[in-house]
């Protein structure tokens, strides 16, 4: 059962968005999120929403998968809305017993809700259309300039991809240890939260020991295969910008210019 776990939330299909260079998608997502914080009126959000819809259409990923990401942050979203709605001081709009909803509160609440929803759906597009592996590659190459500040970009990317490779293996191992402990009378399912947490100790200790042993073995195997960090390393699948990537960058640029220009206009309607 643990064997079939899929990592991240990658949705396998053929589309232009899937084939884009991961660096484009990373930069695009980042710029999209930043742009959301520049808008001062609804036109900006409208443009962002339209742009996002177009990208989703191009990605061939069903819309419900996009919304699925929303479910995880639903609580956070509601909390933000509620707090902003009731706690923003200003001109009272509705007064219910002791709670006051102000005009400013309503405005900020809607503003935050829209912004947050677009942000979550926007980043979902990236994770749904890029394999974790590809994403790590993109980060490694895209963040290379940070090397100047001594950020170990290659090492971090390597660690991430090894972690991804070992997650299913360790999952399987957890399953095995769990069964072995259950066979010896361990109880993982009853009792209150403290008892359950305590019951996990005989599961975690062997798991950690085995993880360290694996790490040791893997390090030796990597050294035996001449791994010595990112210096002088070539790539089997190098990232090279194609024509479609340049077009994508151009689209993002157009969106940014138009969106921020129109999105920052002072509109009397919204105040």
């Amino acid at each position: 059962m643990l064997r079939d776990i899929t990592l991240g939330q990658y949705y396998q299909t053929e589309s232009v968005i899937h084939r884009l260079d991961p660096r484009v998608k990373l930069a695009g997502t980042l710029l999209f999120i930043i742009s959301l914080f520049f808008f001062k009126n609804f036109i900006g959000y409208l443009i962002a929403a339209v742009f996002l819809m177009l990208v989703i259409r191009l990605s061939h990923v069903p819309f419900r998968f996009m919304v699925r990401g929303m479910r995880a942050v639903l609580f956070l979203l509601l909390l933000t809305v509620v707090f902003n709605l009731f706690l923003t001081p200003g001109e009272p709009l509705v007064i219910l017993w002791k709670v006051t909803i102000t005009k400013e509160g309503l405005k900020t609440a809607i503003n935050m809700a829209v912004r947050l929803s677009l942000l979550v759906v926007g980043s979902s597009v990236m994770t749904l259309t890029t394999t974790p592996n590809n994403l790590t590659d993109g980060m490694e190459k895209g963040l290379r300039p940070l090397k100047v500040f001594r950020v170990p970009v290659h090492e971090v990317a390597m660690m991430m991809s090894i972690a991804l490779r070992f997650i299913p293996i360790l999952m399987e191992e957890t399953d095995k240890i769990m069964k072995a402990q259950i066979a010896r009378g361990a109880d993982f399912e009853s009792g209150n939260i403290i008892r359950r947490a305590k019951a996990l100790v005989p599961l975690l200790v062997p798991l950690f020991i085995s993880a360290f042993r694996r790490a040791n073995d893997l390090a030796m195997a990597m050294e035996a295969r001449c791994y010595r960090g990112g210096e002088g390393r070539t790539k089997m699948k190098p990232l090279i910008y194609q024509k479609r990537d340049r077009i994508a960058y151009l689209c993002i640029l157009i969106y940014l210019t138009v969106g921020i220009w129109l999105g920052r206009l002072q509109l009397p309607a919204i105040g």
Binding site: L218, A221, T234, K235
Partner: protein, 285 residues
């Protein structure tokens, strides 16, 4: 001088108790000398703790001898500036298939070694294709290693070493964690490597059946080389093998017992077919 040469190699390590106090000195490898020629198929046999894996790690410069010298293709393994060249010349396959695969796709894992030594992208692809074809895993190149069987994973590991174009490949108990089918698969691949590609193979194992095809066998015990010879010579010394706590293959044991009871059979019979033929001959006499 051969491709691998060891002279008086000794490896010692300090045993410590749980508090880190020194308990004593263990000599894992004790004055071992050997000379392996290009293209040979060598088997190193021994039970657990005989020092065979420790010796193997010296060939790949993962461990350095406390005393003595190891040369790989004429390079002294203790010379640090030749380290990567040595590791490229003598590739190594380890016991646990899961703990030596780095890539998330078979072809990416095979490409890991060539990437490390700075091979141009186009050539990496050629090497990956060639290596996967040698071990018969080319159809699986797009698969995730997690979905493969143990024998298949080990074959991918072998391909990963081959892609670095080594002159010699050391396999440290590659079949210890596999089922009989996986074991057969891996041994078949290793034999093909030696027969077809002419690769120097050093196979470390504790399975007797796996050494039958070797050119030469070293039997290790307590860090020393206890016996040396062709498989046939080794198997004819049944009593000594028993003393070293090694299991002799059933056929060889049967032939040995028959011989002891006066049946005229030649020494060191290795396969059932051989025994049958030998028995037929004795009856005709």
């Amino acid at each position: 001088m051969g491709i691998i040469k060891a002279k008086d190699v000794t490896f010692e390590y300090i045993r410590r108790d749980e508090d880190g106090n020194v308990e004593g000195l263990t000599t894992a490898v004790d004055h071992v000398s050997l000379d392996i020629k290009q293209g040979e198929f060598i088997a190193v046999l021994g039970h657990n703790g005989s020092g065979k894996s420790t010796l193997a790690k010296h060939i790949n410069a993962i461990l350095y001898p406390t005393e003595g010298t190891v040369w790989v293709d004429g390079m002294d393994t203790s010379e640090e500036d030749k380290l990567w060249h040595i590791r490229q010349t003598a590739g190594m396959v380890f016991q646990n298939p899961d703990n030596q695969i780095i890539g998330q796709v078979v072809e990416e894992d095979v490409g890991f070694g060539p990437e490390n030594i700075g091979i141009p992208t186009k050539e990496i692809w050629e090497r990956v294709e060639e290596s996967l074809k040698i071990v018969g895993m080319y159809e699986f190149r797009k698969h995730s290693p997690n979905k493969l069987s143990g024998g298949q994973k080990q074959r991918v590991s072998i391909a990963g070493v081959l892609a670095m174009h080594p002159k010699c490949i050391v396999l440290d108990e590659p079949t210890a964690m596999l089922d009989p089918r996986g074991r057969k698969e891996v041994i078949r691949a290793v034999r093909a490597l030696n027969d077809v590609e002419g690769m120097t193979v050093i196979l470390i194992t504790h399975y007797m059946e796996e050494i039958i095809h070797a050119d030469r066998v070293f039997v290790m015990d307590k860090g020393r080389i206890a016996m040396e010879g062709t498989p046939r010579e080794i198997f004819s010394r049944v009593e000594e093998l028993k003393e070293l706590r090694l299991d002799v293959p059933q056929v060889t044991l049967l032939a040995y017992e028959l011989q002891k009871r006066g049946v005229g059979l030649p020494d060191g019979i290795l396969t059932a077919k051989e025994l049958a033929e030998a028995l037929l001959r004795t009856e005709n006499v």
